[in-house]
Symmetry: D2
Subunit: 342 residues, 4 copies
């Protein structure tokens, strides 16, 4: 039997480890062979493939990114998308698909499985860790590690100049990276998308920190927002492409803090460094196990399912259920971190 | 109310993060004050204390080791131990104790709580991750990270010289560090204490690896043993202090592999580097949360309990139950890794 | 004899190592005692001091930043600045000063030594490595290391999405960080302040890179500029505070590359993470030796001099000479890197 | 013109960067093509080659080890060695050789160039940094970095248990790694092969360190030796293979320190982790430049020469001269570090 593998959406450390795990076990234990589809759903849509065997996956475990390439292509928005995919799967004699990706990629897998008899197994991937039904997604631990190391470095600069340093981390809809790296890095303020912040309260925490002669670090998720009416975006407050990423809430915060507290404030936007490079040991372990269990699901003919982490176990859940709602930071969990604010 | 804190057993990255979490929350939210007992149970036994307040815990989050010092002192083997501890707690007006440690340290806490009305809350600490009732203990992720980085480095040396490299990692009774770092580092053989290995089979895996022109990495837990009769320790096979650590199973393996396969083999014993230094982001997050929840348990008067990680939640369990049995690697989990052997 | 120590200008990994080296040797071998002046020249100006002895310098070797704090205060622009400094040195019975800083800080030291009989020894500090008379300044190697690790991480993201990634590194007037991290990170384009670049040529290199199915990384120093007339800053091309740092040449490049080549381009601005955190081993070694040799110069009464690295030797040079001209990247050295462009 | 490249001796981070630099510049600027000889001098001796072009060197810059493999084969000890090499060079139409290696590999290159008209250019490689005529060799900075990070980690364990930690680093004949990592890691004792140490003095330093309540770290080069008559190796003081590496001076020191001071002492032998893995930014920069300048030397027909670092310049020196004498640690430089002992 031949199994197709594709990776969709933004890249994430651990994708190659998933691919390797599935190919190693599928080949050695089940006697399957594999075909790689290039650039997410565009691959099966356009019949764009890469060879995928044990030789192809040698040495990729520690490598970030994905050897299959990625894209955000959605076959359901392409003319005749489903039929073209089914034709290509037939052409390449692919009898099962492993789709590794986030909400969009897995959403396509759900519909192809459920409505169009395309046998798919899903592997959840979101660096933001905001997917339901799994305790963690791979890539998240690496991103938190990169952010924490950056915060460690920024502390010394903040102390030396008695300056506020704002660190903008990833997280448009969920504050997991901000919460974990903020706690691990000893941040004095952590701001997440799940809860509108009050800029006055933030400045209060900052001033109380200076009172004990320590310089504050503010960790803010890119999707965090102040209370209504507090954020007045000047016409020129987006940069030349309207990138929010590069002139967003982090920049706005530093400006507001400077004008309200009179303290110097600087922003660092970590950006893509959070999602590239070699995966952490935890992410390699998790991604490898996801790969092993995904091919087991294929072997069991258990399609329409996604692998997930529960405690230390890998389980299977219906993809549909997993992608139904975003996993956001629970208010009680966020409140726990509050003891470190100010 | 005054709370005493102590750390016992071998040091472990994250101990300071636990202390900081408990002191920050206890002081700010519950209005407690704290006293640190030096060097584990020896502290309350001998009335040896250190000041412990918010100033004392500033900046310790990223620091490995423990600001309180540690020891393996067991008051139950000391003359009049329990009475002396109770006297010192009274003398310092300590009404509750947070004991951070492994089986031995927590075992003492259980008996003091259960049999002698000393109100104790436990925080589990074992770098080997072999304590029941918690998914993970802090320090483990850091140790796995250090071991994985070493394995990454050793791969290139192995390949350049087509040589076998044996990496001996911590784990006397449980193979968690070997299993996780071996999987994350792409080892070709992983040997754990839970299952006696067959040296012939190990050499078979090594030879099959060389057949595809790749040089093998063998990760072995210090407590792993070959099948009965296979390991013949020469009189001179322990070093000048009889340290197993420095002339143990890793050395024996390299020697056997050389003589059985004719391939050059070298051993690296990672030793103490696995347990020192700054904690990983995951361990800082886990240890900080353990500290916050330990002081909550004190606040609730919920003594004789230990904090534990279940999935992403911190829960409380009876210390006695948690220390009752060693958490070892499940055979099925170990079998999962087998696909990568050879 | 009592020696004063101060650190001026932007913080830099290794400042604490210099302080420790001078205090350890001065105390143990010469029997000096020390006083720390807080926040650069503001310290002696305002008589703001911190205790500085062997206890004060314990454990600071691996810590970034400076335990003395820093500022850009210039006594020559302050009313009565020189007299106030001389009065405070007399008040604290300070007979010699070690000034650790860049052009401005050392410029003050030169004038105080030469024109006002204040015995100063200089220690050069610039993370940009743009100070004449020394092969390297401490902090530079750390900054290059941080930038190189970021470039390593960005490669995988670039490849996975076949996207251009622009990395803006420090270097307003000299391209040393860009050149070294670009070479070490395998960048496909390196742009430095010393040579105006042609945006058309840059896009040509990028397109040739895509032709071989590889995604390009562009490393650009914050001070790099295109040829006259090529850079047209839109009204909206500065962010809400007109920070060049966050909407500077890196942002402009990504925008131009997108519009000229039709390829997706993203910018990462590394910012303050390059100058904070623990120093690299090389920087700890260099900074420690600078500290040891600075106190030797004080002992020899060799004032008005600065310590410098020549090959593997630490030498002394007149401060004036060292700060006379900026050390920029030699065109021949930049040309060497050209073989990797495109 | 076709150029052959080989790497000999122990592996070292940066070998691949040298190869890449030479191949990129040779191909693009001089129109050469290349052939890789496998496993050092064994390659040309046995006519064992690997393809070496721009595609072959893509992505190898950050990879440790050597894509060409290595060996310690010496053609002058092989029957008919020189003739066989000349025949194979003729067979593969190789008109010049770039030999990357240490004393032995370069010694062969000297004789082949000088006595047998084989046009060779040398690139110095020794992780121990003990080669004359160059300020640094690539790989050394990486090794020092790995050792320093290990020392950082061991400090916290030492402090937590008030225990002596002995770290044995590489360096059979020269103490460069011990000196640099010891200084950078804040060691309290540094022992090098160049100077016999007095075990009594070492124990004195250790005791004085404990007096101020700090736990000592001893960094010892594997080749360091105590004064005559002090080191009495018990029969059981070598391990089961008589590996000095695993039961050498580090083990002996810990034992002596325990028996003489009564303090607990532990040894960590860093071993192969020092020479594997990704090169530091400094080593990538140095190795890349060595590759670029080596191919320039070939282009200039400047054979029998070796590239070398002097300050920040790459120069050429006669190989013979460079390998004539070992570069050891100057007593004055070692004395500099003495201020930190005890």
């Amino acid at each position: 039997m031949r199994v197709g593998v594709l990776t969709g959406g933004g890249d994430c450390p651990g994708l190659n480890a998933v691919i390797r795990g599935a190919v190693r076990k599928g080949t050695q234990e089940y006697g399957y062979d594999f075909v790689g589809f290039r650039d997410g759903w565009r691959g099966p849509l356009e019949g764009n493939t890469v060879p995928l065997d044990i030789t192809a996956v040698r040495g990729i475990l520690p490598r970030g990114g994905t050897i299959l390439g990625s894209s955000r292509t959605n076959p359901f928005t392409e003319e005749d998308g489903v039929r073209r995919i089914k034709d290509n799967l037939a052409k390449y004699e692919v009898e099962a698909l492993i789709a590794i990706g986030g909400e969009d990629t897995l959403g396509v897998a759900t519909r192809l499985s459920g409505e169009h008899d395309v046998p798919c197994v899903g592997v959840p991937k979101t660096i933001d860790n905001d997917l339901s039904a799994t305790d963690y997604t791979f890539g998240f631990d690496t991103a938190v590690g990169v952010a924490t190391e950056a915060i460690d470095r920024l502390h010394t600069t903040a102390e030396s100049h008695m300056r506020v340093l704002v660190v903008e981390v990833m997280g448009r809809h969920a504050g997991w990276i901000a919460l974990h790296s903020g706690l691990a890095g000893g941040a004095n303020v952590i701001l997440i998308p799940e809860q509108r912040f009050d800029i006055g309260e933030v400045c209060g925490w900052i001033e109380s920190r200076f009172k004990v002669r320590y310089a504050p670090i503010v960790v803010v998720a890119e999707g965090a927002m102040p209370k209504d009416g507090q954020m007045v975006l000047k016409d020129d407050s987006t940069d030349s492409f309207g990138h929010v990423r590069l002139s967003g809430v982090g920049e706005w915060l530093a400006k507001e803090i400077e004008s309200r507290t009179g303290k110097e404030a600087r922003t660092t936007v970590l950006g893509h460094t959070q999602r590239g490079g070699t995966p952490s040991a935890f992410d390699r372990w998790l991604a490898t196990r996801f790969g092993l269990h995904a091919i087991d699901a294929v072997h069991d003919g258990d399609f329409g399912k996604m692998v997930a982490l529960r405690g230390t176990d890998i389980v299977r859940v219906p993809i549909a259920e997993a992608t139904a709602k975003l996993k956001t930071v629970d208010p009680a969990l966020y409140a726990e971190a509050g003891v470190f604010f100010g």
